[in-house]
Amino acid sequence: MAMKFEKTGEKSYLLDVCGYVCPHPQIYCKKSLEKIGEGDVLEMVFDNPSSAETIIQMLDQGGHEVLEKKHEGGKIIFRIQKG
């Protein structure tokens, strides 16, 4: 099944895990944040609502900032700045 982790700019990345269910989105989010540098922005796209609550708390505990949260036709998009 396809998933994407791409560098989309100087300090920005995209993680697309649509179609994946728990625990994959939270694990891939954690691993992607470990990969990128402090201050870099990760745009995460997923469609498993159950993962959202865990991801938000994980980001909060890790000191990362959620710059934007939005719903787009069943997809959830988080823009996260690594803290």
Binding site: M3, V21, C22, D47, E53
Partner: protein
């Protein structure tokens, strides 16, 4: 604009689904007033489904998210639910309105819990979590429920493990003179081993019933000693190992000085309230699960029965019930046995004899699907979760693809195999029992957490490998 349109569409569908459940309830009432017993199960299932979906309440995520991401929200939510539920259970026991019964205590519970724990992490949801996720349109969860259903049904009737069954179990099972052939390995295990194990409910032990007179044995024995204190312990451990360091660091920065006990207490409170929707649903689920027991007991008193099988027999549906005249009718929140019955029902329709065994033939029966009370509770969970996710624009059909098909089926089958020997899953074997003063619930819980730890280790390794292999910029 498009968003608002989707929102309205979702709400309309939510009303349609709710309307269908109302119509089903009315149809049952019209067919026979005895079906009101079954309708109660549907609506409690519906309520559980709404609460589980809203709180993202899944026991797989309790240990999995803690081990994989250091997030304790679900572990906290479950402990909160368990504490509230234990108080209500005690109240019901004290007023003789409880349908709770403890389970045989033994090492089998720990082993089953461990298998179940691995399965729930692979499947991406526990038994109840998978049901509510089907309501969100999640196809992988549908596969795991199929795995649970058929995994249990097959496991309960096959003779595959007879060569490793101790002779003492066989002798003990035969001595019970049961009206089935006892060919299935699970029969020998159930009648020859499990039934011989002691059942413990703290309020009924000699020590507690003598030390605590009257109703206090339920509140102090079953609730405080057996449920609340053991539930507080993991909360303190989680705080100490996962939250404390970061929280006190932040506090010290804010205060510009040393931190003390008040800060630790504030830290524990902040951990409990970090996910308000999960904790709030924990409280509500605890209360509703208690109310469910109360209402089921009321239905039993109203119809003068102790099992729905008696009502089915009165209505002439004798082929639905077991040789004992019963069907699976737990009287409270339960998930897996009814799914085993679903699997058995399908296999029976395929011409396989599913009744010459203790589990279905003697104990639980195989009712037609539309007359299976506990199965309606599971369907209610799916529909309740569907309504909630439709209202919140979270419903989306997701067909399982690629590796998720394997994880869903494998995880579900492991959950099926891990629930049958313990006579329950994360709800029946852990949540209900731990809150009811039965220590075997905690044994199952420890097993689940251990299994989840193994599952998380595996998934961590798997994800690293997959990311390194498939993702260009990793």
């Amino acid at each position: 604009m498009a968003d608002q349109e989707n929102n309205t569409k979702g709400q309309i569908w939510a009303f349609i689904v709710t309307g269908i459940v109302i119509l089903i309830s009315l149809a049952y009432y019209k067919a026979n007033v005895y079906y009101m017993y079954l309708v109660v199960y549907i609506w409690f299932g519906f309520a559980y489904g709404m609460m589980l979906q809203y709180g993202r309440f899944c026991m797989a995520s309790a240990s999995r998210d803690l081990f994989a991401a250091g997030v304790p929200r679900m572990a906290v939510g479950i402990m909160v639910a368990l504490m509230f539920f234990s108080i209500i259970q005690a109240l019901l026991s004290a007023t003789d309105m409880s349908t709770f019964h403890p389970a045989p205590f033994g090492i089998h519970t720990l082993i089953s819990g461990t298998i179940f724990g691995v399965g729930m992490v692979l499947a991406g949801g526990c038994a109840s979590g998978s049901l509510y996720k089907i309501g969100e349109g999640n196809g992988t969860s549908f596969l795991s429920i199929m795995g649970i259903s058929f995994g249990q049904a097959i496991f309960s009737v096959v003779p595959w493990f007879n060569s490793i069954i101790p002779q003492s179990w066989e002798i003990s099972a035969k001595a019970k003179d049961l009206p089935v052939s006892l060919n299935a390995s699970f029969d020998k295990y159930l009648a020859g081993y499990v039934w011989d194990q002691p059942k413990i409910q703290l309020s009924h032990t000699k020590v507690i019933s003598e030390a605590l007179p009257g109703a206090s044995k339920y509140f102090l024995g079953d609730a405080l000693i057996s449920a609340i204190i053991p539930a507080l312990l993991p909360l303190v451990l989680i705080y100490t190992f996962y939250i404390r360091k970061g929280f006190l660091k932040k506090k010290a920065k804010q205060k510009g000085g040393e931190t003390g006990l008040t800060d630790d207490l504030a830290g524990i409170w902040s951990m409990i309230t970090a996910s308000k929707r999960t904790t709030l649903m924990g409280v509500l689920i605890g209360i509703v699960a208690g109310l469910h027991i109360f209402i089921m007991k009321g239905m039993q008193i109203k119809f003068g029965v102790s099992n729905f099988g008696e009502l089915l027999t009165k209505m002439g549906h004798t082929s639905d019930v077991s040789l004992n005249g019963t069907v699976f009718d737990p009287g409270y929140w339960y998930i897996t046995t009814q799914e085993a019955q679903f699997g058995a029902w399908v296999m029976e329709k395929m011409g396989i004899n599913m009744r010459d065994n203790v589990f279905f033939g003697v104990n639980n029966g195989i009712p037609e699907l539309w007359r299976n009370p506990a199965l309606w509770m599971s369907i209610g969970i799916i529909l309740g979760a569907m309504v909630m996710s439709l209202m919140n624009r979270e419903f989306k059909f997701k067909l399982p693809k690629g590796e998720l098909i394997v994880w869903g089926l494998l995880g579900g089958t492991l959950m099926g195999i891990g629930s049958r020997p313990a006579l329950g899953c994360n709800i029946g074997a852990f949540f209900i029992r731990a809150a009811g003063g039965d220590p075997s619930g905690w044994l199952y819980g420890i097993g689940m957490a251990t299994g989840a730890f193994v599952g998380v280790k595996f998934f961590n390794w798997w994800s690293e490998r997959k990311m390194a292999k498939e993702m260009a910029d990793f």
